[in-house]
Amino acid sequence: MVTVNVSKKRLLEKTGRRSDADLFEAMHQIKCPVDCEQDGNLIVEVTGDRPDLLSVEGIARNLRGYFGKETGLAKNGFANGKLEVVCDANALKLRPVVVGAVADGLKLTDERVKELFEFQEKLDLTNGRRRKKASIGLYDMAKLKPPFFFKALDADKTKFIPLKGGKEMSLNQILKELDKGREYAHLLNGMRKMPCLVDSAGEVLSLVPIINGESSAVTSGTRSIFVDHTGTDFSACNASLNIVCAHFADLGAKVTKVKITAGGKGFWTPDDSPIEMNVGVEQVNKMLGLKLSAKQIADCLGRQRIGAKVDGDNIKAGIPAYRADFLHPADLVEEIALGYGYAKFEPLAPSVYTKGGLSEGTLNENFVRDFLVGASFLEVYTHVLTNEGKIKKAQSGEELVEIANPVSSEYSVMRATVYPNLLDVLSKNSHNTYPQDLFEVGETVLFDGKEDVKMRTVQKACAVLCGPSANLSKIASVLSELCGKIFSGEKIEFVKNDFPQFIAGRSAAVLVGGKKIGFVGEASPVVLENFGLQMPVALFEVEI
């Protein structure tokens, strides 16, 4: 989900609606639901597959189709223009894709320019994958001298005044000193020469994909815009360029293609030819559980602004070039469902018989929970994420399963044992009456080189007695009874074993059929002190 701000007034104008009566529901039905309304602006949540809906123009274009006001492919066939961008081979090694277009006859206002920049930023973030795959530049054509050149320029010697930078700076300086420079510096990691666009007068348009030059900045006075996309992936750049061009065309501009020349060969961008895809009527009706005719299917596609021709039992679809989300005919089927209207589908009650059942893990878990509640233990539920401090306080000898990128030092490790969490709960309840006998059955993570993920998820049962009369004998009696029930027929042994968390001579390893499944003991006074507990604690923890 990406959030975008849209003026409600503009959206109503652009769709020819007088009121917002059915606007919100319509927007929900075309994948851009309104989250809330603030001072005449709609905060819209656009699903990740629809970057073309990141501007009011794009949403209005789809809504006009949804309301039946204007259906089928938008007529955006762009003619070849006059501008050429000549690409240097060295620059293409640094950033292999360059495409561009020109929009003439624009009438902008401060508000339109603000919208345009927000739109650009959201596209860079989503479709452009934070400018890595594709990044957008917008320039005032009137301030530049064509043709343009894409060059690799020296990072120290090349200087220009970056947008809002206030002074002339070298490329390296920009990466170090400006916010945008630091944010995206990793994309030009350690390059001695960096990719730049320059005009015929030697003016630097931009250091891509970082920042534009101040001299060609777009303002409300701009009538003609050159838009470029550079990146690593042609389809991502071309799709995004088409999205921006469709936006300009809907603003009333005349969009023309730009000639990109590299190694003596030239080609025109954007490639705006519709993407051809076919789907069978039968396949559509099977997936949607409907009985639509070929004509009805074509109409549904038209409402989603997709061109559709009926060809016998097939539909030949022409998907606009600004839609980058079509990989398979299944994508067309969803588009047909959207054009038909999700709200119109009648849910079918489930009718397939299969035998249900709980997993072995849940059956075991519930058995142990029933047993321990019956033995007067209160159940707690704690988190799997914990921290090294808590584990150390509990003097658990476990190897730490650390999170490489934690968001909080409180939750930086996945637990391998449960008992530190239970001691933590006890430490927060010293104001309550004793005894406090608690248990948890929960999942833990243990290292295991034999597993494909190098770790094993193990369900453990842990119970603590905390009160004046808590001792090893009492907790071991409970454990012995429990093990006898779960592992009936197997030999259950308590084997002398010292653990750092227990008083020496007052703990044991628990063996079932000769296999070690856990431990039982009286918590050492050091551990109790670490948790601020002034009551004895006896506990066990076993794999179940």
């Binding site: 398979h328 997993s359 190098k454």
Partner: protein, 484 residues
């Protein structure tokens, strides 16, 4: 007279005792004992002497603050003119957990006014008189104690800066009336007394015959008991599981840690998908092992060039990235594993999965939570069927009155849909579903259509359990565990 009262009277037979000794002798909890003694006192059976001498002691946090001042004092000390709240907090050098404390108490003390402008919070100083808390903290750290301080320190106790050592204590002794009652009750030999406790001895000897039993006072019959019970949230999860089993779904489990391969690649999520970025996934510093080449290569092909009539994502797949071990970030990877290892048709599968995702930590967000998800394999799968399953989850499992459907987007399903449901008069986003993409199924060798579905559990649990803070689902409060 009830059992407890009888025990207390007996304990006092030999002479007056303090409450600790009575508790020891009778085995009653202090909290119960208080009410029993009060009752006996009111009935004139014992003479009660209350002593309310309590000792106050600083907690670790209290000691820290008595040395370096309370957070609200440090905050107000940092505020000069009207300034950005964030700046004031930084200037005051407040630790992560202290900001909320400082703000809330500075406000209660009428020290600050907060206003917002342009989406930013500003703070202004409105006073800085020594607060009652500060005075009390000073006195307690100076070693003063006594009843007056208990009152002044009430706030500090609530803030966990001070604890009260030694409960209120009582001492009690039998009155004449009490002594007479006791004699009467135990005068098993004579025929005059009433029986208050039916003992094994009385039964054995037959002494009860012809004797009267003391009546219970029904007004004081019950006293609080400490119970042990199952956890409310675990029970909620269990109820959800039983509903699903009732609908013919079988439960499976999987591992808490996963490779990116199973968590995402096997679901046809491209490796540069925004949800796979570093800030959306918890990584572990390990590399796992990819499945056998027959499977891995198919997944690579689906991503790079496309399978089953798809164009594919058209990028260079990285097996190194695929082998990265992560904390499971969503539950759908479990479906991929099960479809590969145990494909049946028809089949209905569900899981309650613990998942981890970096996020803010507040009342409605936490970094680990539970998802209820699953799949259905059936030859005749269609969008209305999928909506039918979702609707029955909403209506039959969650008790919703109405449902609404809208399109949605998941990288691994097409078409996809989401469902809003009306529960207890509120419309909530309940879950999503879709038909698994052909590329994903082809790569995993699944030749049947499969519906994938998922419901968010934690928000739903909050709605049902009347909990307003997600963190309370894993509460440390024993009182709450017993009460819910």
């Amino acid at each position: 007279m009830n059992e407890n009262e009888q025990r207390v009277l007996s304990a006092l037979k030999a002479g007056g005792l303090d409450s600790v000794s009575i508790a020891k002798k009778t085995g009653l909890e202090q909290s119960t004992l208080g009410s029993v003694l009060a009752k006996l006192d009111a009935d004139g059976l014992v003479a009660l002497e209350k002593s309310e001498e309590s000792k106050l002691e600083l907690t670790g946090e209290g000691r820290k603050y008595s040395k370096q001042e309370l957070p609200e004092r440090r905050l107000i000390g940092a505020i000069k003119a009207r300034m950005l709240l964030d700046d004031a907090v930084k200037k005051a050098g407040l630790a992560a957990g202290e900001k909320g404390i400082a703000l809330s108490w500075a406000r209660k003390n009428n020290w600050i006014a907060i206003s917002s402008e342009g989406g930013k919070a500003f703070v202004q100083k409105t006073g800085d008189n020594e607060s009652a808390d500060e005075r009390a903290l000073k006195e307690i750290s100076g070693g003063k104690k006594g009843r007056a301080d208990v009152l002044a320190a009430k706030n500090l106790v609530a803030r966990s800066l001070v604890k009260v050592i030694g409960e209120k204590s009582f001492s009690a002794k039998l009155t004449k009336k009490g002594a007479a009652q006791l004699t009467g009750a135990h005068d098993a030999g004579g025929n005059k007394g009433v029986v208050t406790s039916l003992t094994a001895q009385i039964l054995k000897s037959g002494e009860w015959k012809g004797r009267q039993f003391a009546e219970y006072d029904l007004n004081t019959l019950v006293s609080p008991v400490s119970i042990s019970k199952k956890h409310f949230y675990k029970e909620f999860l269990n109820r959800m599981k039983m509903h699903l089993v009732g609908m013919g779904f079988r439960e499976i489990r999987s591992t808490l840690v996963e490779t990116e391969f199973w968590n995402m690649d096997a679901l046809f999520m491209p490796q540069d998908h925004p949800a796979r970025e570093i800030h959306d996934i918890f990584r572990l510093n390990y590399k796992g092992i990819l499945p056998h080449p027959g499977l891995t290569d198919k997944v690579v092909e689906a991503h790079e060039r496309g399978l089953a009539g798809s164009r594919g994502w058209g990028y260079k797949y990285s097996k190194d990235k695929a082998s990265q071990v992560i904390a499971r970030s969503h539950d759908t990877g479990i479906s991929a594993r099960e479809l590969v290892s145990n494909l049946k048709c028809p089949d209905k599968v569900f899981f309650v999965a613990h998942v981890f995702r970096p996020d803010e930590i507040d009342w409605k967000h936490f970094i680990e939570f539970n998802q209820l998800g699953g799949y259905v394999v059936d030859e005749s799968i269609s969008l209305p069927q999928l909506m039918g399953y979702l609707k029955s989850f909403a209506v039959d499992v969650c008790g919703a009155k109405n449902v609404k459907f809208a399109p949605s987007y998941f990288p691994f399903t097409e078409p996809s849909c989401e469902m809003m449901a009306e529960i207890n008069g509120k419309w909530v986003e309940l879950g999503g579903a879709g038909i698994f993409r052909p590329e994903m199924l082809a790569a995993l060798g699944v030749d049947k259509p499969v519906i994938a579905w998922g419901l968010g559990l934690d928000r739903l649990a909050m709605l049902y359990l009347g909990i307003n803070d997600m963190r309370e689902l894993a509460t440390s409060k024993i009182e709450l565990l017993k009460q819910k």
